[in-house]
Amino acid sequence: MSYYIRGKLELKSKPLDKVAILNFNLDEDINCKPGQYIMAWIPNYGEIPLSPSFCSDKKLQLLVEDVGTTSNKFVNLELGSYAYFRGPFGNFFNLSKGNKYLLVAGGTGAAPILMAAKNLSELNVEAIVIYGGRSKNHLVFLEEFNKYLRKVYAYTEDGTFGYYGVVTKDLQSIIDSFSPDVILTTGPEMMMRKVIEISVKNKIYCEASIVRIIKCASGVCGSCVLEPLGLLTCKDGPVFNGNVLINSNFGKTMRSESGREVEIK
């Protein structure tokens, strides 16, 4: 057996210049739960953690944003090319924590929330989503969310689609009218911090899937540390409870590749 599971790029769309939705056919099964991640490798370029929007039956869908060397290679991968995957790693969203789920997804972080939406609809759990992005074409999973959920609140920062403003703008009033048991979120860190603050204030159980520098993906090297508790994003996470995050450096600082403390902007 090969060490990695090989995937062939079968289908690709590029909703934005720097964003691609990639559909791979895998040689073997990887079964990812929503929030879990895989390590995605292109030999001679690198390997990065990605949370799939779909991952079972030898099929894998990824939403990748080009932010550097390896993600750039993924976004520009040509049809028929191979990439290599291992996993799944980490924990996942709790989908049996209540009867009403409010999902909050920002920009290109939406992939694991889409998988959660699909699974919740299969479980017949009532769920709605607030989905925000810079502009209409940034809402790349709009159609899919509409397929799985009875209500999609869309927000764009330039007002080109849905409501005008950021994803957290009407969060409080949506909470008031929907009364969710659970809030799940992914997206830019500052956005998630805001969602968590509002959830905690409303005493609603909340989970967020967060990003730190993943190297070993095994809870050994310490690179992905969430401080001050010394939790490991790669293994204890990437999904954390809002009460843990609100008392942490989440939204304030993280560690760079060398382990230097850097501020989150």
Partner: protein, 299 residues
């Protein structure tokens, strides 16, 4: 049973520590180790300048253990010192600072800098995958000797040398390491993994270091042999995944044991398991830890 032990005059509440490089590059992680009942904490190997480390893949699990080529990522000794200085008082257990110098002057400067923080310095002479560091230093006997002497001159507490698992090379150099106070045995073995479908080495650095299960009998043999060749205390490290593996190291002559990659499998609770397992064993065998150390040797 009493698990308190001493290495070169440093008292440890128990003989278990983390291995350098595992959960040890930030104060928050070292504190988590302290809470997990380690006898001492060992820091990530710190270099003179900041290092980002290598690109991923950097760590993989294979049938007989683990391979890593992290590339010694660390924020550089000044930055690390700053972080550690702020929290020194929160550590009740000894802090062993691992340094990976490439030349004597820098080695001395780093050692001097950690004077008020470290209970001991561990010199990494054995990382098998970094240019001009670790094993490449070790392979130059004169340079090694000079680095160890400079660290000793700049630091008035014990200095440990972390050695590679290569028997002949280690036995060849051991007499010239008189300046060091204890040996840490051993680091990983240079190794490789190739993916047969990608048809390429998996680690971005191609070569890495083998740790875990396969390393245990190799490190163990070297600890056993060194115990007969030197009077200095030895810290055993390599593939300890249970208290039984650790007991083998004590029997071979190690005074303390470090554990690393097992955290992938068992998490940080491994330390509690080691402490409880050793306590129970000592009680059942009616023997003290001191008596256990080196007991596998004749006479």
């Amino acid at each position: 049973m009493e698990l308190v032990t001493k290495i070169s005059g440093i008292t440890l509440r128990n003989p278990f520590m983390n291995a350098s490089g595992v959960l040890s590059q930030t104060v928050s992680l070292l504190k988590r180790l302290q809470e997990a009942e380690v006898g001492a904490v060992v820091t990530k190997s710190i270099t003179y300048e900041e290092r980002k480390g290598y690109e991923n893949p950097t760590f993989i699990k294979i049938n007989c253990g683990y391979l890593n080529a992290m590339g010694l990522p660390n924020p550089g000794f000044r930055e690390f010192l700053k972080e550690l200085s702020l929290c020194r008082d929160e550590f009740k257990v000894p802090i062993i600072v691992s340094i990976a110098p490439s030349e004597p002057k820098q080695a001395r400067e780093m050692a001097t800098t950690f004077k008020n923080i470290a209970s001991a310095i561990e010199i990494n002479l054995s990382c098998p995958h970094s240019e001009k560091l670790g094993l490449e230093v070790f392979n130059d006997a004169k340079l090694t000797e000079s680095i160890v002497k400079n660290v000793k001159d700049g630091f008035d507490k014990p200095v440990f040398c972390k050695l590679p698992p290569y028997r002949n090379e280690v036995l060849g150099i051991i007499d010239s390491l008189d300046n060091c106070d204890a040996f840490v045995v051993s680091n990983t073995i240079r190794a490789m993994k190739i993916d047969i479908k990608a048809k390429k080495p998996v680690l971005s650095n191609k070569f890495g270091g083998l740790s875990g299960k396969a390393l245990h009998p190799i490190s163990l043999a070297l600890v056993f042999e060194l115990y007969e060749k030197t009077k200095k205390p030895i810290i055993g490290v390599g593939g300890v995944e249970s208290w039984e593996d650790a007991v083998e190291f004590f029997l071979a002559g190690a005074s303390a044991v470090q554990v690393g990659s097992v955290l992938e499998k068992k998490g940080i609770t491994i330390f509690k398991e080691l402490v409880e397992g050793l306590e129970k064993y000592l009680k059942e065998e009616r023997i003290s830890l001191e008596e256990l150390i080196g007991l596998a040797h004749d006479s």
